[in-house]
């Protein structure tokens, strides 16, 4: 007889450690698994068509060896890691892969997938415009429509308004639950650690939405009732930056006298701040992904058609959601992390730091090459940063 099924945080940890385990089971049961890269492919459509969305990450503990055949060393190591895993056959459980032109190098993954990896029978690349201009939103709606038509072939069924509405509601429910999960870190000390939180977030990206939602409900209850609470620490930090899908950084920071209480990263809050709005059609999805998700990859300005750019106003229009998180979570320091060669985040660094300076929030910038071994040299700097905040 099987022993009782794992649940709550320990289930999240189990999935974090073996991400494809559940989707492989589902696949054996006849489900089709669709891998997606970055935040921009609308998972609602994948879910609505009865497919299982699975976010593709790299692996910080796996040395990059195979990818040198198709990519140069001076491009984003996260992208290189995905290509590397793909070439090594580690995504053999995927029935489809969806990429997005979130950044130029990231979009290239799909091109390489088709030319070199050839592992999934279905691939699609969504063009994402660079701005949040009104014509760009309409154009992106067209892109989502092309994606919908294409993926209907994989699903063998048509998307109906009803199915899409139901999927949007389920994903919105997940967004609401994730916000509740993050609320658990508002008290001081926070009720769960940032590494635990990341395990949950990675687990969600590896499960069908309904399973993710019930996992979240269990975890919120478990954490609220937990007897042993984390110990109080001197400092409450926010972590900013591009994709970070490994607990190594959070463990490293929390080994210093600091809690990470909130983040602005695409594995953390970015996809969950805002809901998809009714009437849950393709235009609403375009609006949600292109306009409501705040990632530096999209060009934004304080006012459309502005003829003069005011530095402070410009920064406030782009970063005030971070200010809100700082206030709501009682943050007293920010760690800006970036993977090397990330253009979209790199150009933000001095400007975001200036913005934080004006808020009186100290910050530190660290860069790494998306490998666990690149974490060690960061340790002393993070600890010293925490010491300066004392």
């Amino acid at each position: 007889m099987a022993i009782a099924t794992n649940k709550g945080l320990s289930l999240a940890r189990e999935i974090y450690a073996d991400r494809s385990k559940r989707v492989r089971e589902l696949r054996r049961d006849g489900k089709k698994i669709v891998g997606y890269i970055c935040l921009y492919p609308p998972v609602e459509i994948i879910t609505a068509l009865g497919l299982v969305p699975f976010r593709i990450f790299g692996d910080m503990s796996e040395p990059i060896t195979a990818a040198d055949r198709v990519s140069t060393t001076m491009v984003c190591p996260f992208v290189r890691s995905i290509l590397d895993l793909g070439l090594k056959g580690k995504f053999d459980f995927l029935d489809g892969v969806v990429g997005a032109h979130t950044c130029d190098i990231g979009a290239g993954i799909i091109l390489q997938w088709r030319d070199a990896i050839k592992d999934a029978p279905f691939t699609h690349l969504l063009d994402v415009p660079h701005t949040d201009h009104a014509p760009a939103v309409d154009y992106f709606e067209g892109q989502i429509n092309s994606f919908k038509r294409h993926i209907e072939e994989l699903a063998g069924e048509k998307l109906t308004d009803d199915k899409l509405k139901k999927a949007c509601e389920m994903h919105n429910e997940q967004r609401k639950l994730v916000r509740q999960l993050y609320d658990l870190r508002k008290p001081d000390p926070p009720l769960l650690s940032s590494a635990e939180n990341l395990e949950v977030m990675v687990a969600l990206s590896s499960l069908p939405v309904e399973e993710g939602n019930s996992l979240l409900e269990d975890i919120i209850q478990e954490v609220t009732e937990r007897k042993v609470k984390p110990s109080p620490k001197k400092v409450r930090l926010l972590v900013w930056g591009p994709v970070f899908d490994n607990t190594a950084l959070y463990d490293l920071i929390e080994s210093a006298d600091a809690h990470v209480v909130v983040d602005d990263t695409c594995v953390g809050t970015r996809a969950f701040w805002a809901d998809v709005k009714p009437p849950y059609n393709l235009h609403a999805l375009a609006q949600h992904y292109l306009v409501d998700i705040k990632c530096p990859r999209t060009y934004r300005q304080a006012e459309p058609f502005e003829t003069r750019r005011d530095y402070d106003k410009d920064l406030d229009s782009r970063f005030n959601y971070i200010k809100k998180a700082i206030v709501d979570w009682g943050v007293n320091g920010v760690v800006l992390q970036s993977v090397k060669y990330c253009d979209t985040h790199g150009y933000e660094v001095p400007n975001l730091r200036h913005y934080l300076d004006t808020l009186g929030i100290p910050s530190i910038y660290i860069e790494h090459d998306y490998s666990e071994r690149s974490m060690a040299p960061i340790k002393t700097r993070v600890e010293a940063f925490v010491e300066t905040l004392g």
Binding site: T380, R381, A384, T388
Partner: protein, 291 residues
Amino acid sequence: MDIIASKLFFTGIDIGSTMSKAAVVDAEGVMLGYVIGPTGAEHRRRANMVMEDVLAKCGVSLDEIAYIISTGYGRVNVPFADKQVTELTCHARGVAALFPDVRTAIDIGGQDAKVLKIKNGKLVDFLTNDKCAAGTGRFLEVAAETLGLELNEMGRISLQSDTPVKINSLCTIFAQQEIIASLSEGKPLPDILAGVYIAIATRVVKLARQLKVEPPVVFTGGVAKNGGMVKAIEAVLGMPVSVPPEPLITGCLGAAILARDEAFKLINRGEYKLQKKQLSEAYIEFTEKTR
């Protein structure tokens, strides 16, 4: 300060990548003495030896040491330390103890370089270079090996140069090739050495400029003992720098002073004795094991 506190002493131990240092201060924060020795492969044994040496040198017994802070690259390998603090915070504290007005500190060690911004004796901002040997003491060692010189004679020779050779390469290996090329072109040795110093200084000052250098500037670390290097830093920075009499010990001195501050905090909380006992037991146990 009460009577008990005035009899106590405090130690800072800095296990750096190449050298280990320790210092003892009294209840007033005044340094009794220090020791410096090579780190070697076995951090734990080294920590133990440095501790014994510094106690012997200062004529203080272990029972009189109230609190120990370890710092530096090997700080986790000091089993009898009460607390670990990064070398950045300790350096800042040590430099400020010697130069109370200091605003900027530049430290070039064997494997890394750091720039500290200090305000009212406290670390407020910093940058480090730990990725690249160029701009650290390692670069000097490579140059010395290439030129067949002893490290301690390089500075003196370089001071004879008026026209330093330009070394362009960012990478230590390429720079080594450039040094060899300059040699084969018959460039004078002092000019080559001065060029090496300028190259290191340029890397480090670049780091410093990111933090907006404010005077007074203090230059520390093993490399600061080298007159040629001091001259190069001043030239590239365009302002004078102060060098402590012993530039290697700012880290352990800062750690010792922080140990004193921390111990007083504990004394005030009534937790001091407990700490003391743990310290002694850990030390004795470790000493017995390693002997």
